[in-house]
Amino acid sequence: MATSEAGVIELCHGNGGRLMHELIENVIRPALANPMLDTQLDAAKLPALEGLPVITTDGFTVQPLEFPGGDIGSLAVHGTINDLAVSGAVPLYLTLSLFIEEGFEISRLARLMKSLGQAAASAGVVVVTGDTKVLPRGQCGGIYLATTGIGVMAPGTNLGMDFVQPGDKILVSGSIGDHGTAVMLAREQFGLSGSLLSDSASVLPLTRALQGLEGVRFMRDPTRGGLATVAHELCRATGLGMNLWQEVIPVSDQVRGVCDLLGYDPYYLACEGRVMAVVSMSDAPSALKRWQALPAGSQAAIVGEIQSNHSRVVLTTDYGGERILEELENDPLPRIC
């Protein structure tokens, strides 16, 4: 029987033979439609890159595979290209590895591949090579994906924690914790459900908007561990401290509600389409203006400041009190990306 969307994945779809070939040609390749993806070759030949090449890789194990605002397919694109984008690079190419569980519905695989293809196309990246493995039933919760991204550094970009100085401002591009909370709600854990959408998206428009602004020191997408974890990495690397101001950190009502109910701190919950930037005091207002002019940045805010008189991450609360945001100990929400 030819591989069609009606069936399920069998172990022989990963054996390199006819069924695997059909799966790739009928289901995966059409979704990724691009002339550079030659499934007959063992390796993709890329044109010479104009600029400093940048490479990153990421694995995706999110449960559930589809959640309000995204799915593991689009996430596998956003997660990897966002790592390139916040490094100041323009993403160009992706590789894609699929680890599929025996019994997985092919129609569902097609849906996820379509979502992945669309996310790649709208970010202007192409999937140039890939690999497919099938695992026995019960081994990977449906599907795992792994993507590697290649890009080139935008000319004149100079970002890094080394450039961060006391007095620099901390900006976030939008509300925090939406992705982590949306995935948790989609699991219907604790009898909770809701309509919150994940923020999973390409951050390229946001990082592009800050290009050419000299005072931009460092950018990061606060994924696992959230804003507080990026803050800690920054403080550890620089020996500087950070004050964050609760009153101005954008948090959606639903995220706040879930956090109140379950005792989570939103500052530790993951985003998949936000950027945290450290910008000099003088350029911070103009960076904020650039972000706020974008649909993805309408809620952007200056939420804190780099300090030299301590080396902790300190939150000034809505009540004017202070508390230390510690490094995350137990991950409250495993498998969110």
Binding site: Q307, L315, D318, G321, E329
Partner: protein, 371 residues
Amino acid sequence: MTPEARHWLNLIHGLPLDRTLKIMNVCGGHERSISLAGLRTVLPRNIEIIPGPGCPVCICPEEDIYQAMRLALDERVLLLAFGDMLQVPVNLPRSQPRSLDAARAAGADIRPIASPMDAVAIAREHPEREVVFFAAGFETTMAPVAALLGQDLPDNLSLLISGRLTWPAVAMLLESQSCEFDALIAPGHVATIMGTEEWQFVPQRHVLPAAVAGFTPESLLAAIYSCLRQTLEGRSFLDNCYAEVALPDGNPTAQRLLKNAFDVVDANWRGIGILARSGFNPREAHASHDARVRFSDHSRASRRRAGEMPPGCACANVVMGQIYPNQCPLYGRGCTPRNPVGPCMVSDEGACRIWWANGVRSHRETPICPD
């Protein structure tokens, strides 16, 4: 900051406080709100807020957790417990499982549940198993457990009850003078069930100012202000800063359910000892669903260190408000949420865990950032 919070803070800062005043809060939920909002860092420096004995996991007898663990290791048994309980260490040699979590890793079928009603659903799903619900908690938890006992329960469901009343612990602290404080913030949730009047003994018998508070920083600030003002004016009465929810007589339906389900008996509190008429015990009519009746006694009182706190652990002093979490030598060193030694570092309502997880490192560390 809300205008209401600003209002109460301004009033508090306007009071002529000429000495240090200590206010105890009883409830883990109160302590959490106070720590999350960083209230200690915005109050005048001579006001101390002491976390008290309001964590049901922290005062749950070690013997009860041991018993739950022994039951769970019985192949017939599927044990249900509130998630907080799973990590509490019991005093056993390292070669044996030393918490419900460790017993689970060793093969016991232990499942965390969030609501007592889940116990009925799980028992119905597994008619072939003996399902035991380890129900530990104060009045607020025991009221829904009582409602459960009032129903027609599946035959294969039994309850291992470790329920406590809150006020006897506070009465003991006041009578024994083992912890000195000038005023009390009474627990709002308990008062919604049992009524605010239950706390009249604090101002009437002990001439101590008291205020029932809700769980927002605003309500807590109002209660702190009330306590301070009563102290300064030399008056003692029971104020209600949670009047929209907590009524003088509480919730009569919940009280009736509690009365029908349980006898009030003398009970052991971990780190404190036996307190008269402070525990809930299933009435004889419910014996068929009482795990202590249905299964043989596993408590093994002769076990080494049975019922004690782990060596070096000062949870008993923390629970009784005698020391702050950071004054325990293990705080943040040998004892962290990832590797808890004592129960106060395990539970979300335990003072040590609340302080550590919310970045409170010292009761004197105010403000954190120098100007």
